[in-house]
């Protein structure tokens, strides 16, 4: 069924009787060409591109709970491609271009809103680093602008310019960046994949990987064994657990990132804003809530909840940057489990196990990467070679010294 304004009107006039389930609820087949573990954004996007772009129809996505229940459903919805390093920028710019055509591609309104992002800087050193980054973006074909303090004030007069501990000296802007309705991204990809024949199997937890003499033959699940020629793992925070089933240790730790939303407010923030002197970033949803976050809690955890010190740290940053939000109320706080890698950059690669492929290490940047991650993982699964924009995301880069470390924080995941 095709979605459109006409369809909405037609259904409204006929009592909404014609709406069908957005995805089927199939039982697993005994064997698939490709099984994707993880019905989150990346897994569903992979299924969409595998089926639609790479023509693979015998594909299943197995999800232990309900689809979209992982980080795609608990992030702060920011979409951008403002990266600095060669290994990253082409990938994220590819992703942003896919975002720009997403609704038409999947025929589902994910409310991609290119309201722009501004990364504020407060020292000359930060300005120099952002200048290097902005130049790298432009040299990679992305858009970037450098604003001075006055220009920032003109666009964001409510920021703290008069009483700031760390005065705003300017900001790096990407106008094409923005936000998207996170749940809708999962549902849109799921709907499209389903329409292209992909089996989306919910409440089906992978309990083991069947590996015989170095080859992966399929997955053991709560719904029994499901055979597969290829198995792709896209489980974000649970990467360590699932790949552990194949006896692999990863350059990844699982950490919790908290996110927050305020009560609904009339529009106040025109774009996404990140504070350069504290842990705080914010945007305003179309529904009116201020959606904001900051740093990860910093300790290994698989619990989707955090603790007070980080809540306070984030709100301190918020108040320091925009004291007008003092009387806006924080409505809800939650957490997502992040697959924090050793250099802050992701991995999309084969593994030593034949037929087993890995997609992870997204840290807290997975949402914006969803389309490209799905596209490149689909490419790898279909062609057994990395997509040109994802060639740097190798599993062995830490052994060879080819880290992609935007922050320069080194081999300590909770610093990225």
């Amino acid at each position: 069924m095709r979605y459109s304004g006409f369809r909405v009107i037609k259904e409204a006039l006929t009592g909404h009787k014609g709406w069908k389930p957005v995805w089927r609820e199939p039982d697993p087949k005994p064997h698939y060409d490709v099984i994707i573990i993880g019905g989150g954004g990346h897994g569903l996007a992979t299924a969409h591109y595998l089926s639609k772009v790479y023509g693979q129809r015998n594909v299943a996505v197995v999800e232990k709970g309900w689809i979209g229940g992982g980080n795609v459903g608990r992030n702060t919805t920011i979409v951008r491609s403002n990266y600095m390093l060669d290994g990253n920028e082409p990938f994220y710019e590819f992703s942003l271009k896919l975002w720009e055509g997403l609704e038409q591609d999947v025929n589902y309104n994910a409310m991609m809103s290119q309201r722009g992002i501004i990364n504020l800087f407060h020292t000359d050193g930060q300005r120099d680093a952002y200048t290097r980054r902005g130049n790298a973006m432009i040299l990679n074909g992305a858009d970037a602008e450098l604003l001075d303090a006055d220009q920032v004030r003109a666009e964001h007069p409510y920021l703290n310019f008069d009483d700031a501990r760390f005065p705003i000296k300017g900001g790096l802007v990407q106008r094409r960046a923005g936000t998207a309705r996170h749940d809708a991204v999962a549902w849109g990809y799921a709907r499209s994949a389903d329409l292209h024949g992909v089996d989306i199997i919910q409440n089906c937890e992978v309990t083991g990987l069947r590996i015989e003499n170095g080859t992966c033959l399929g997955v053991e699940t709560s719904k029994g064994f499901i055979g597969a020629s290829k198995v792709g793992c896209a489980v974000a925070g649970n990467s360590g657990r699932v790949m552990g089933m194949a006896g692999m240790r990863l350059p990844i730790e699982s950490h919790v990132l908290q996110a927050f939303v305020s009560e609904g407010l009339k529009p106040v923030l025109p774009s996404v804003i990140t504070f350069g002197a504290g842990h705080f970033y914010v945007s305003q949803s179309d529904k009116g809530g201020l959606v904001f976050g900051g740093d990860i809690d910093g300790y290994n955890t698989y619990a989707q909840r955090g603790n007070l010190p980080v809540v306070e740290d984030v709100c301190e940053g918020g108040m320091a940057l925009m004291p007008m939000i003092g009387r806006a109320r924080l409505l809800r706080m939650w957490g997502g489990v992040m697959d924090m890698s050793m250099d802050g950059s992701p991995i999309i690669d084969r593994t030593p196990v034949q037929g087993l492929y890995f997609n992870g290490g997204w840290c807290y940047g997975g949402f914006k990467a969803t389309p490209a991650s799905g596209y490149c993982f689909a490419h790898l699964l279909a062609k057994d070679e990395p997509h040109p924009v994802a060639t740097a995301y190798r599993l062995d880069r830490f052994r060879t010294g080819r880290m992609i470390d935007e922050k320069g924080a080194g081999n300590q995941p909770n610093l990225h």
Binding site: H16, G65, Y108, T131, K266, R305, G326, L331
Partner: protein, 980 residues
Amino acid sequence: MTQVNRLTGGQIDRDTTLKFYFDGRSFTAHPGDTLASALLANNVRLIGRSFKYHRPRGLLTAGSEEPNGMVELRAGARKEPNTRATTIEMYDGLIANSQNRWPSLRFDALAVNDLFSNFLSAGFYYKTFMWPAAFWEKLYEPIIRRAAGLGSLSMQADPDEYDKGFRHCDLLIIGAGPAGLMAALTAGRAGADVILADEDFTLGGRLNSETFSVGDHSAPDWTAQTVAELLAMPNVRLMPRTTVIGAFDHGIYGAVERTGDHLPSLPAGKPRQILWRIYTQKALLCAGATERPIAFENNDRPGIMTASALRTYANRFAVTASPRVAIFTSNDDGHRTADDLHAKGVKIAAVVDVREDAPLSYDYEVLKGAQVINTRGRLGLSFVEVALPDGSTRTLDCGALGVSGGWNPNVHLTCHQRGRPVWNEALAAFVPGENLPVGMSVAGSANGVMSTHGALRSGAEAAAAALDLTTQPDLPEAEDAPMALKPFWYVQGCKRAWVDQQNDVTVKDVKLSYQEGFRSVEHLKRYTTLGMATDQGKTSNITGLAIMAEVAGKSIPETGTTIFRPPYTPVPIGAFAGRMTGKDFHPTRLTPSHHWAKERGAVFVEAGNWLRAQWFPLPGETHWRDSVDREVRQTRASVGVCDCTTLGKIDVQGTDAAEFLNRVYANGFAKLAVGKTRYGLMLREDGMVMDDGTAARLAEDHFVVTTTTANAVSVYRHMEFVRQCLFPDMDVQLISTTDGWAQYAVAGPNSRKLLQKIVDPEFDISNEAFPFMACGKITVCGGLRARLFRISFSGELAFEIAVPSRYGDALMRRLMTEGKEFDVTPYGTEALSVMRIEKGHPVGNELNGTTTALNLGLGKMVSKKKDSVGSVLSEREALTAPDVLKLVGLKPVNPEEKITAGGHLMNIDGPVDATHDQGYVTSAAYSPNLNSHIGLGLLKRGDARMGEKMRLVSPLTELNVEVEIVSAHFVDPEGERLRA
């Protein structure tokens, strides 16, 4: 005509009359009122508009679960959007305005949405607005955004202060209703440290809303007496107006105390609210229960509220929503409301009870087995249509309808650590499950014990159990009626029956969600927005769940439950920030010469938490470059002084001190002679440069290590890690002394001459006696202990001199007076930076965490003879490949042209794009000595490309310059000056 709806009795002070304003109209109220009760007293039923359809809305409840009755409280910079009228304690002069309406509350243009509601069904926006693509940004979204949100912010900085505090107790009791009060008595009398917190400004919970007696007293009297006894206990702390917002790990609770919200204005220095972090041994949740409505056609009109709310307004606030009231109930509790209202002289139009076997009354009519099927009334309720068992219908004339669908225990805090509640058939409600937060237990109606006597008993028992007490106080007699109800969620056949009133989620939306496959509870919530409004579904989640269960043909527990997240009720962001706002966001660190520098009119810059002098403008200098160029020239020509106290200083002592430094530094330290200083390069274990600095050997077993300002803390932490975790048996002791010493760089050809004037004569600091890299303890100005290091960052003959911080100010002034004859100048961080770039010294811009010693041209410093941190991984293939980046100097071919840090380097005639990127500029400055802009950069094979012309591009700043690759040592490459 004021307060027409006032009744007799209640807990309000009629002797005092308060004035307040709603939408510009002035009304009167009494102390003890909430804004909600005061509005009802004045016969104001229409208070707000719903989110999506802008339907007229009044009050649904009398508590913090309120979804409808929200206002913008106060005015100007103190405006608080989305404030629940039911929790606003009345004060004189209170100002409130309705929100989410235009042009006015009674005539709201967007109420037109209601006419099109059929097109605006759940999730409709996911299916449209996609064509043409560009229209989303330009047309559709702007319209949606304009309609979004409820109240509005003032856009001004919040003028109020907030505090944070920390309290500890044996037992935290959350909620001061019958269970909480009895628990506090039990624990308090036993001598335990107790904190009793309640969100209300009057302790007692439901007891304040009931007419029955507890022991020999009325419920409110028993409450007052109990509170008085608790107040007298030194070990019990009562915290009214305090909401416990969340249960966090290991018995830590967050609580927000509203210390100033009930005051017309705050006394100076007093906080509006305090965020308490409460550390508990045990916690007892006595949060009570929330009555749930029943969904039926047009059940959202102003005047329709929960039956218990009507009872609270009547008994506690002496107010009725209308002189004529009807009740719609599925249980006995609805009848209690009718009884209490009748007793207060309110006319009961009828009690509509869905049960065939409902109890009868002598005082009013009871319609058994009947259901409310519709309501009428434009901006408020005027008629209720009832379907009788025999199929006939009847219209009731009433201005208020009390609805009772049973009670939901307030289990929220039991779920904050992912605990799942369990279904209780008898109550048709979720009660706390097994895995509660550590140390938490639950009592009273929050635990499904619905009678007053049961609540008192379970409170006493739970407190005793939590503290292992053997004795409990005697329990007063109290109402002990069993919960008699028939599970009843919504009236069949209705078209538009509201489940989530604020977000306009109807029964139909829930069914559509199922129809489209959004069947897990989380999908339901996310697709329909059920329970995502400011009340977080306190009155709607379970009903929505029950409807979903019914259409799915499953039981409610099979269908699931949404998980509750903190905070229990919304909290101002300012309260979480406390005093860490504005200039107090971070502590400010001042150098010993700060006050002197301020007198000199220095311009300061933030360096981490430090404030450092950036430059010292003199009269006539209009541009910062004038000052900086002068400071550089004067220093290189004669002598300059710079406060470098901010550099981290770590005292390293012990018989293994030298060997310890040998392990943490990449270069060797074992053979450093006493009285000598050495530059040290510190690597991370991954082989990247972590920090650089100097280590001065003051004795065989004593070094003073300096770190960069930025890394002082992390380097110290790292050294402690190496000491404690890697080499636990080394005899080495570390301690930071950064703040203890005022340290000044005295640089320039005349620096020795200047110092000789203040260093006491017995110390020979001539080049022979005190050569380059010498260090030692000395005295100055007639006996003040000091330290002298002959090290140079500027590349000039230079020293760093340190004295105890309290004398730093005096020493700086002395250096300036004694230096007059040499035309001494103080210089700031800008001049410092220019001189270090002229010398090619790497700092933060170069030590960016991705550079190796090899990149920085310091590869030879990494000793291969020993195993120091980072040496192994620095050898990885990609880090030692022939084309790795190397630090180089950059000069524009045309000296007039600027060099921009952050620019990228391209081959002179090659293409300009990312794939042909050759490197980037890390630092740039204007060199007054070379009369040219200069820069440092990291360039592929840079060391082999000296003299090569390249293109420096910075499209971001529209710069494109031809540069020459030169040595990074622009000034005195042989280093003759610093050895002079």
